[in-house]
């Protein structure tokens, strides 16, 4: 049985929603569930860094994609990762329309609230999975 979950955020730069995903993954792995998660650097994965790719083979994965290009999903599918949850930030914003982030550089207070909601949704999936 697994005792940790790998967290991967797309870390895109073009849209504010990718900045939300980045913040959410850091908040999840450092504050919400630091002992149950490990943040895996997506740029390291796409550059085929052995240690990072190994983490994705070892642990189930929570994936956070910022936009509908779903770059994270495309790459992790190629790697046959065990994705137990795929959070789509644009869909979560759709359910929380008042939380529009300020910008891609500075997501602002509303952006931080949205990022924390994303992280909380991820933490529910992780806790359910680990309790199985």
């Amino acid at each position: 049985m697994h005792n940790k979950i790998a967290v991967v955020a797309c870390t895109g730069m073009g849209k504010a929603l990718a900045s939300i995903g980045r913040y959410a993954s850091i908040y999840l792995t450092t504050t919400l569930l630091p002992e149950k998660t490990i943040n895996v650097c997506f740029p390291c994965v796409v550059s085929e860094d052995d240690a990072s790719v190994e983490l994705l083979k070892k642990y189930p994965v929570i994936l956070i994609d910022g936009c509908s290009e779903t770059c994270g999903k495309k790459i992790l599918t190629k790697l046959n990762s065990n994705i137990i949850g795929h959070l789509k930030v644009w869909q979560i914003l759709g359910k929380n329309k008042e939380l529009i982030p300020d910008s891609r550089v500075n997501i602002g207070e509303k952006g931080i609230k949205l990022a924390k909601i994303v992280a909380q949704e991820a933490s529910k999936i992780i806790n359910q999975y680990l309790e199985k």
């Binding site: 955020a9 797309c10 870390t11 895109g12 730069m13 073009g14 990718a18 980045r22 913040y23 993954s25 850091i26 908040y27 943040n39 650097c41 997506f42 740029p43 390291c44 796409v46 550059s47 085929e48 860094d49 290009e69 770059c71 994270g72 495309k74 790459i75 891609r104 550089v105």
Partner: protein
């Protein structure tokens, strides 16, 4: 200047587990939004790696400048897979060594020193953008 060299692609590694990755993002945003908004285009590294068509086509047709965060050089490795025209490679690690008194605060918030460091790097990249365009 030829048509294909009117713009320069810029990219950041955007690594997530070290402060240097956040510095790369902030430096590239400064280039894109403050220093060279009309001369640069963002190449989103995850999108390039996922073979999003517009990113792949851009790096094949236009010159690019890369900013990596650490010695793993992830952005450089990805760009080299795509027959890109790399004209400049920068690394935050080199700047951390050169400016040890500037200590960024955290991955989430790089703080005043981190902003200063990002600005120094952005200024150097902006100079490189001018150089690339003037040699086109």
């Amino acid at each position: 200047m030829s048509q294909t060299n009117k713009k320069v692609g810029v990219t950041a590694c955007t690594g997530i587990n070290i402060i240097n990755g956040t510095i790369t993002r902030m430096a590239i945003y400064k280039v894109l939004e403050e220093l060279k908004p009309n001369q640069t285009v963002l190449i989103c590294l995850p999108a390039l790696a996922a073979e999003v068509e517009e990113d792949v086509e851009f790096v094949r047709d236009y010159p690019s400048i890369i900013l990596d965060g650490c010695e793993k050089k992830c952005a450089e490795k990805v760009f080299k897979k795509f027959k890109s025209k790399i004209k400049g490679i920068f690394n935050v690690s080199d700047y951390r060594a050169k400016y040890p008194h500037l200590e960024p605060k955290s991955i989430i918030d790089i703080g005043t020193d981190g902003e200063k460091l990002a600005q120094i790097i952005a200024n150097d990249i902006a100079k490189k953008v001018d150089e690339v365009l003037s040699n086109a």
